[in-house]
């Protein structure tokens, strides 16, 4: 990795230099240098990751596993090296517990359709929160409907925090699994997942955490969390699209029925009886996204070189600064003011529709997301059609915030 500094934690990381690793940030949008504030939807990619994938295709590509020839071995080595990197990244006990999936959505669907379908019965309950992404609602709705089970929802307060006393009440003997996001993509709320996991485990209930928004920002240690399933997407953490991770405890994964049928996931196939392969292959049917896996490995290396401590601090500064400055704007209302928050600011500007604000910001070269952010029930909870959401990554800087604030003021004048 060329430009990320070697100093892991204590010394200062040069984020101006790091920004130069991201080629897309050099482009313009509507004739203005782009201000990219939509990393919560998908992050940009550093050259290091792009080069790793290009190198893979130009020097190493062959289908993985089982090939006796050198090239196939090299491809497999690159592939399995990434699994090792991911294992270390989240401190999983074993590589076997790190399954490659397309992304968070597939990770949750995999668990809902194997663990869920196997363990849910009529009258059972799945516990989620009001602030879940559709990806952590719909898969559970589907399996609940099939099994006659029920979806229970932990309400939130005005600041966008889960009401833990309600959680306590909703966590009952009927609960078969709890599935909560680590960080809300729409509000930025960092949920108290340690407490959630401890309380659920006290009743012997497993917990799945949707880590899509947490992994790009926080250090995640699945052993320390003692979480049962944890899933995230590569494309939100500087990695390629189309690849993500499902971590699961081996004990649970082993007891689950397989997911997809196909090559790789079998031990022996006869037309009468098929026996399944061991972990992680049992859940990885078919040719995997080998280049994507190499890419997510490179993304892990890249982020680790920078270090989570420096990232957390830098992003926190941006969040504080943006929150303070935006609040000075007349009529601007921030949606989601949890005490524990990641670098996401959702807001509404007077009575203006988010679409209008987003459109004007776009014309100014500022990329923000507008709408319901795939959290319609959450928007319904606040009685709003959507928000304008600015999300910051470590490659953003204060200048980006200044431009955003300027832009919002301009929008306020035009729409007001």
């Amino acid at each position: 990795m060329a430009t990320a500094t070697k100093n892991k934690s204590t010394k200062k990381v040069d984020f101006d230099k790091i920004r130069k690793d991201f080629p897309l940030l050099k482009r313009e949008m509507n004739g203005k240098p782009i201000v990219f504030l939509d990393s919560a939807a998908s992050s940009q990619k550093p050259n290091y990751v792009l080069r790793a994938m290009d190198h893979y295709y130009k020097k190493l590509h062959a289908n993985v596993h089982r090939g006796v020839y050198q090239l196939s071995q090299e491809a497999t080595d690159a592939f399995e090296k990434s699994r090792r990197l991911v294992k270390e990244f989240i401190n999983a006990p074993s590589e076997k517990e790190c399954i490659f999936v397309r992304g968070t959505t597939e990770g949750i669907n995999l668990v809902a359709s194997t663990y869920g379908r196997k363990n849910l019965e009529a009258g059972d309950e799945v516990l989620i929160s009001t602030m879940e992404h559709h990806s952590n609602i719909v898969p559970w709705q589907m399996v609940c409907e099939e099994k006659g089970a029920h979806l229970k929802v932990v309400p939130i307060n005005e600041d966008g925090e889960m009401i833990m006393s309600e959680f306590d009440k909703l966590l009952t003997d009927k609960t078969k699994i709890v599935s909560i996001n680590h960080i809300s993509n729409a509000l930025g709320t960092i949920n108290p997942i340690r407490e959630v996991i401890a309380k659920a485990h006290a009743k012997g209930i497993p917990v799945m955490i949707d880590g899509a928004q947490a992994i790009p920002h926080l250090k995640v240690d699945v052993q320390e969390l003692d979480v049962d399933f944890y899933t995230f997407s590569g494309h939100k953490m500087c990695g390629p699209t189309g690849i993500g991770i499902l971590y699961g405890k081996a004990e649970l994964l082993n007891a689950m029925p397989p997911y997809h049928g196909g090559g790789e996931m079998i031990e022996t196939v006869t037309f009468e009886k098929t026996t399944y392969n061991t972990l992680p292959h049992k859940f990885e049917a078919g040719t995997p996204d080998i280049a994507g896996v190499v890419g997510i490995g490179a993304a892990v290396e890249y982020m680790q070189k920078i270090g989570h401590e420096a990232i957390v601090q830098h992003e926190h500064e941006l969040l504080e600064y943006a929150t303070t400055e935006l609040k000075k704007i007349d009529g601007l209302r921030i949606v989601g003011e949890a005490k524990e928050k990641a670098s996401v600011v959702s807001f509404l500007l007077g009575n203006s529709h988010p679409y209008d604000v987003g459109t004007i910001l776009d014309k100014l070269g500022i990329a923000v997301r507008t709408g319901h952010h795939c959290t319609q029930p959450l928007m319904a909870r606040f009685g709003i059609p959507g928000t304008v959401r600015a999300s910051f990554a470590f490659y953003n800087n204060k200048e980006d915030v200044d431009k955003l604030v300027e832009g919002v003021k301009r929008a306020a004048r035009m729409l007001g």
Binding site: N30, P354, Y355, D356, K363, H372, M414
Partner: protein, 136 residues
């Protein structure tokens, strides 16, 4: 005036604007003008769902011509709707059905009618033409 005459008129008007700001201020002004639709039509039946903004459309048949009224919860969308209504409302149904709305592109608002922008406008234009077909 025919559909194309109105389109050309709009293109001419927009030629006066020096930059996107003036253009959008004008569209926003259009959007702020009085409601474009009878409130009773702002219901599910007349709703065209967009992921970003909602659009309501009502079509009335006056002889051989179609009268459109419409609205949106987003003001820029509403401003563009005002332009669309100005071009297509009161026109012969057949002309609506066959219309080629080139003015959108010419005045630089093409992106708002991208099928992927999901503000309901593409569906609305489609729906307007379908009324044209149905009422012709």
């Amino acid at each position: 005036m025919t559909i194309n005459e109105i389109q050309d008129e709009i293109i001419e008007e927009f030629a006066f604007f020096d930059d996107w700001m003036e253009k959008y201020e004008y569209i926003i002004d259009l959007g702020k003008s009085l409601p474009l639709i009878d409130p009773k039509y702002k219901d599910e039946a007349h709703l065209i769902k967009g992921c970003q903004s909602q659009v309501w459309l009502h079509a009335a048949n006056e002889g051989k011509q179609v009268d459109f009224t419409a609205d949106s919860d987003a003001i820029i969308t509403k401003g563009i709707i005002a332009l669309l209504v100005r071009v297509l409302s009161g026109q012969p149904a057949e002309a609506v059905a066959q219309s080629d709305l080139y003015f959108i592109d010419k005045i630089g608002l093409k992106e708002h009618l991208s099928p992927t922008r999901s503000n309901g406008l593409v569906s609305m234009v489609k729906q307007m033409k379908m009324y044209g077909v149905a009422m012709a």
